[in-house]
Amino acid sequence: MIAAGIDIGSRSIELVLLDGDRILDVRRQDTTFDPLRQCQRLLEGVSWDTLAATGYGRKLFSERWGGDTLTEIRAHAAGARFLHPEARTVLDIGGQDTKAVAMNEAGRVVKFEMNDRCAAGTGKFLEFMATGLQIPLAEFGTYALSGARGVEISSMCTVFAETEATSLMARGVPGPDIARALHMSIVTRSASMLRRVGVVPPVVFTGGVARNPCVVALMGQILDCPLVVPENPDHVGALGAALHALS
């Protein structure tokens, strides 16, 4: 039986096709202003027996294609657990959301936290700052890793943080140091969210921001425990949805 899981987020849409416990295919599209058309594209030439949707667009999707819906929280937990059966905690940092999820030994979600309406501390924040420092987003983490500690960005707000970064630049602080401080600011925020649900290792880090090596490294330091990053961290939600469709 082939299960399709789709995760319609604010920035991108992911699709995972699952045959039993074998991942057949993973696909991705930008969300754009017309998510349903993007879903259509993603599903072209794909066949499935059962499907489920997660992410902000889940309701919209299921109205059109049917199937069950589940929240990103449950989807990321299920996906992380499938990839790492021992996982007890999930940190997911996506385009506009950060979530911390605690699971019990059996893998049931027992507690979660998510950011409120503001995009501070999410992928969007890093994207904005990378643009500000004129570094391609994909290289931003590596760039920041070469920075030295000692600089601090105190504002969590995307707009004020940028102002702070600009004035640091004007004072001649090296770019990588500023970049490191910006990364640190989102790490601190996410770590405190994680602590609110309780950090029980192994901690699986999912979502697009998990591809950023600087966030991964700093987070590991701050939590004093290494993070497990799946091969395709941004597909974990879609994977969880596919697993849900199967069950």
Partner: protein, 424 residues
């Protein structure tokens, strides 16, 4: 609504253009949230009608009553004893406080970080949008939380007829004495306003009327214990909200009609939601009309709300006043006996509230509790932390939601609420 009302609103000095807009938004929200529900009790049609006429017919009634010499008293808080107003043949009405209106004006007078309810209370005055506020002979402000206390100072500048009532903060002997003195002072103020001398007989009658309303509501609450729940939390909230506006006797009869229908539903095992729907107890800040945001999200996600530990709900309406006192003094004592039990978070310490939440969760067989806090409400947001911890310790999953009247966090709230329901 008819032209007839427009001239009435104009005479009340409402800002007609803004008021039209408000009614349009309200009507649309009501259609989307209320009329879209499936399988509502038929007797809810009365409350639909009241809602559709909330700024129309009910206001006309108030104005007619005033013409006939009766006085109207408006209040925002359940510490204001309606019985005393009823005893003087007056009418007590709740004042609008459930929507963001005239915020630009409000923020000139109040800091931004003030709870939505307080801002709204002032906004309806500044925006000239609440026909109740413009139809009352006396407005009662109560010194409950700091935000309200200070807002009344601002409000006093805008109106002639504000009566400020002090409210104790501790359930001590001194606190009780303060409440008694303040109720006596309020009684005198109402006598002066109405020219009616409040006798024991009159006060007892007022108490009976208010008690009858409460009894009908208690019956409604207990009928919701059935699984499947016979009525949605949205409809139950609406009835709670209308309890502040409607004529008490007509209201009581209408609630009884709903209850009769719910009883029949329960006997037939028929619910407003499918059996097995997750049952949620909501606890926290009051939800004034038209604040339906949280229940709409919760029930939209397939759960059902089975109780409101709220002033627009059971905290505000539980407990009766003893009716047997022979003198005004004895009856005033009886009033204080009841009102002193209201476990609002402005009291410190406030252990009774947690006990009541536990009791309600057990009585209505709740699967989980959602604590509803308005942003910047210190009393409830602060209490939420130990309350949630205690409930979690009992094994009762609890979600803390902090929000306001805006719609911008709806998507996030939906995700949080749905994820919470997935846990249950």
């Amino acid at each position: 609504m008819s032209q007839d009302y427009r001239s009435m609103w104009a005479e009340l000095g409402l800002d007609l253009a803004a008021h039209d807009q408000l009614l349009a938004v309200l009507g649309q929200a009501y259609a989307d949230i209320y009329q879209a529900q499936a399988d509502r009790p038929e007797a809810m049609s009365y409350f639909d009608f009241v809602m559709s006429e909330v700024h129309g017919l009910r206001i006309r009634e108030l104005l007619d009553a005033r013409k006939a010499g009766r006085k109207v008293v408006g209040a925002w808080c359940v510490f204001v004893p309606e019985e005393i107003v009823l005893a003087a043949d007056g009418i007590c009405v709740g004042l609008c406080a459930g929507a963001d209106v005239a915020m630009d004006e409000v923020e000139k007078l109040l800091p931004r970080n003030t709870c939505a309810l307080i801002k709204s209370s002032l906004g309806f005055k500044l925006g000239k949008l609440c026909p109740y506020l413009e139809s009352v002979d006396m407005v009662v402000g109560e010194n409950t939380c700091d935000g309200k206390k200070k807002m009344y100072e601002t409000f006093a500048e805008l109106t002639e007829n504000l009566h400020v009532m002090d409210v104790p903060q501790m359930k001590s002997a001194d606190g009780r004495r303060l409440m008694l003195n303040e109720y006596r002072r309020f009684l005198t103020a109402v006598e002066e306003l109405t020219g009616v001398e409040i006798t024991a007989e009159r006060l007892r009658q007022g108490i009976r009327t208010a008690n009858a309303k409460r009894r009908a509501m208690h019956r409604l609450y207990s009928l919701r214990a059935a699984d499947p729940a016979p009525i949605s939390g949205l409809d139950a909230l609406l009835i709670n909200q209308i309890s502040f506006y409607d004529d008490p006797e007509r209201f009581t009869a209408s609630v009884d009609a709903v209850c009769d229908e719910l009883k029949a539903r329960n006997e037939a095992g028929r619910g407003a939601v499918p059996a097995g729907a997750k049952r949620i107890l909501v606890s926290g800040c009051p939800m004034a009309v038209p604040n339906w945001k949280l229940p709409w999200i919760v029930e939209g996600a397939g759960a059902v709300i089975v109780g409101e530990e709220s002033c627009v709900g059971e905290r505000g309406l539980r407990n009766l006043v003893a009716e047997d006192g022979g003198t005004v003094d004895q009856l005033l004592e009886a009033l204080v006996d009841r009102y002193f039990q209201v476990d609002c978070a402005i009291f410190t310490p406030n252990p009774d509230r947690l006990a009541h939440i536990r009791q309600m969760a057990a009585d209505y067989r709740a699967d989980g509790v959602i604590h509803y806090g308005l942003n910047f409400c210190q009393p409830y947001q602060m209490e939420a932390i130990p309350v949630a911890a205690a409930l979690e310790q009992d094994g009762l999953p609890t979600l803390r939601v902090d929000t306001d009247y805006s719609q911008e966090d709806v998507e996030q709230l939906k995700t949080r609420v749905e994820a919470f329901l997935e846990i249950l």
